[in-house]
Amino acid sequence: MGVIKKITISGFRGINLPLALDFAKGNSLVIYGRNGTGKSSITDAWEWFHTGKIKHLAREGAGEQSYPHKYATEGDTFVEVEFLDPRLDKIKMTFNPTRITQPDVSGNKEAFKKLAPHPCHLRYRDLTEFVYMTKAQRYEFLSRLMGLEEAINIQNNMITCANKIEQLTTTLKERIEEIENNYKTIATKSPKLEIFLEILNSIFKKYNLPQVKELREVKLIIEEMKKLVERDTKSIELNRWKNAERFVSKFYPLDEKLKEELAEFCDKLSDFQKDEKELIKIILIDFYEKGIQVLESLNIYDKCPFCDKEYEGNLLEYVSGKQEKLKQLKERRNSLESMKGDLLHRLDTMIGKIEDFTNNLRELELSDLLTSLRKKAINFKLSIERIKPLLQHPIEKIEKIDVNKIDWESYQYLLNYQQQVQNEIKTRITELEEDESRKELIEDFQKVTQLYQLFIEWLKIDGKIKRLEEIRIAYEQIKNDFVDEIKSLIEYKFNTISNDVTEFFNILEKDAKILSDPKIKLLSTVEKGIELEIGFAGTIERPVFKVLSESQLNSFGLAVFLASVKNFNPEFKFFILDDVINSFDTYKRPRVIELLKKHFSNYQILLLTHDEIWLDQLYKAFPNWRKVKFTGWDISIGPKSKPAKNAIEEIKKFIEEDKPRAAGWKLGVYLEWILQELCERLQAEVKYNRRNEFTLYELYQALRKRLKEKIGSNHFIVKLLNEFDTGFRNFSDHYKDTSTTFSSQEIQDILNKWLEIENKFYCPECNKFVIYQKINGIETILCPCGKLKIK
């Protein structure tokens, strides 16, 4: 049995010096360490080794550059895994600082990926996040757990692309509408080739110009018409003034409030940026939101549920206050972003207007005023083009904007001379139009050239829209089929594992008799929607969040993960559980052990935990697992580790070191746990205690009384328990009392006597305590495998 011999991690995340996790001959391994001792770096390293990425870091904006340890130099950052399978042998993945997404790999990584195609690690945070996910996020989460990450990424990209095609279609449709409106203003009809040619032919006829039958002939006849205009110098001039009139009327009115509003934005921005320290915390708003939800659901306000640190005061109020402040800051930020977006749009519009105006006027130096307006417009455009890039950064990163560097003088000139230039043009046109025939020719010529330009533009956009629509329909068909296929794959995969999910969930939640048969449902009406349903008190409830607690939802997530590992990595019997029991109630943690024992006894497991009680339960249930304790963490080293001991080994060590107080305290905690376990399994009646705390002696008495009832006072176990009373009673009353001292020898005597008793209840074959059962009136006290029988 076993898959992995050794994992060595070096220079990675919180691990600097090489850390070797020795699994010996493929045993499972449990690592105990308080928070902050570097355990999570192991899971990160495994994820990187397995997938080349670390998802949760990517979500937080930390990319590959954050993988190496701060002190690691080139070649120091690597993960090496020695497998028991000779086909895999040894695989080493080394971080490459020059190509951070392309690590150097030695060994047969391809073979490993084939054997382990699915995720085989699960973190506590994955389960807690699962609780608060939206339907679409849950869909992605479950899909990823089932190893469909790549497909999901592609699905998301394809949906994004569909949206972009939609946006492009909208832009083109807006543009064609604008062209149609301009065209209709001149032609009074919508653009259509036949009618377009008809209008033009009626004008050409007036000037004895040839009639056109096809679009390609139009340009030539317009050239002919231009020659007519050019025969008379005054007609040429009138045509130019008419053009100028058109360009000027397109240019004006200008954005009169631009200066004022740009200055207002700069003031608000500078005020906002004064809160620089707080700004970087905006990213924490969601975290605070979740924190509030957790605190409210746990109803604990004086202790941090994540790190267990005590808090003086009301933690909920503190977190809510922080969140409120950040919310206000975020609102201000959003308001500035929106202002910035508006200003950028206005600057773009202004630049576009000026470009059209100045290009069109280039050949039309009809008067000093027009020449001067053109120059001023160019100066103003250059000055706003210098400022614009500054506004394109996110609000936090915009450097100081000096609005005075904009050429407002030129801008003011453009505003001031609007009326004057319009009057000048009007006067000149009136003078030149005194000759009616000239007036008509120029008006017709203007009409023909404008209609032609607009019609060609309309044709181009119309052609683009048609081509885009062809692509869009074909793309949508492929995309929809692909998305449907991914959905049905998820359903197929879930069906494959659903029996296991149900069984695993039922083990984890066997005390919740009211729950049954968890199922996953794909919502066909939503593109990416998934919902969970469950039997609750005889009816089907959906979504499950209506009836399940946070801990029960986590049971669901864990059940899906384990079932996926079992079904989709059938050739690779290894997985990592990183602190996953944190969200489970104490009484439910043995269920996780039961599940692992029953369904994963042939698996190799790397289990990371910071929970000491759970650790002892694991040691008891899996005596063959290797044990490592992280005693601390040092930036220049990483985790400091040593072989871990179980509670009994630790008590013995304290006795050896003549530390009776530490030994006594540890023994008291240990006895309380074992006695509670025995009282529960033997259904001993324990006197009700409102504080929900029991003294050791009450538990001991309840156990002895129960055994007397069931196996009689003369049974040797009851006699052993009677003998144990001497010395134990005094110990149970005073082991927490610092003023009473016990000698190491006294602790040793109690321990020896207790171990003799405990061994009578504990089966070394199935590693479980005996349990009382009454079936068909027959009472038994025996272990689950039946090899240890008391009654």
Binding site: A151, K460, R467, A474, K493
Partner: protein, 68 residues
Amino acid sequence: MLKKEVDMQSPLEILKKLSEVKSYDKEVFLKIKENLSKDGFNVEGFMQWIKDELTKVEKQIEANDGSD
């Protein structure tokens, strides 16, 4: 739904199998396939192809109507 002997890990394989049972626009299908890799679907690449296609339309109209 496709038969499940398809390699479930490979979206490219899924797409290939889909094209065998459905009749898709060849050009669009080919471009989707070209922009598909292990890292996902290259949205920018596909959009660039669309923009190139639209420019072609524009050039074609200019050539046909003599506006150039």
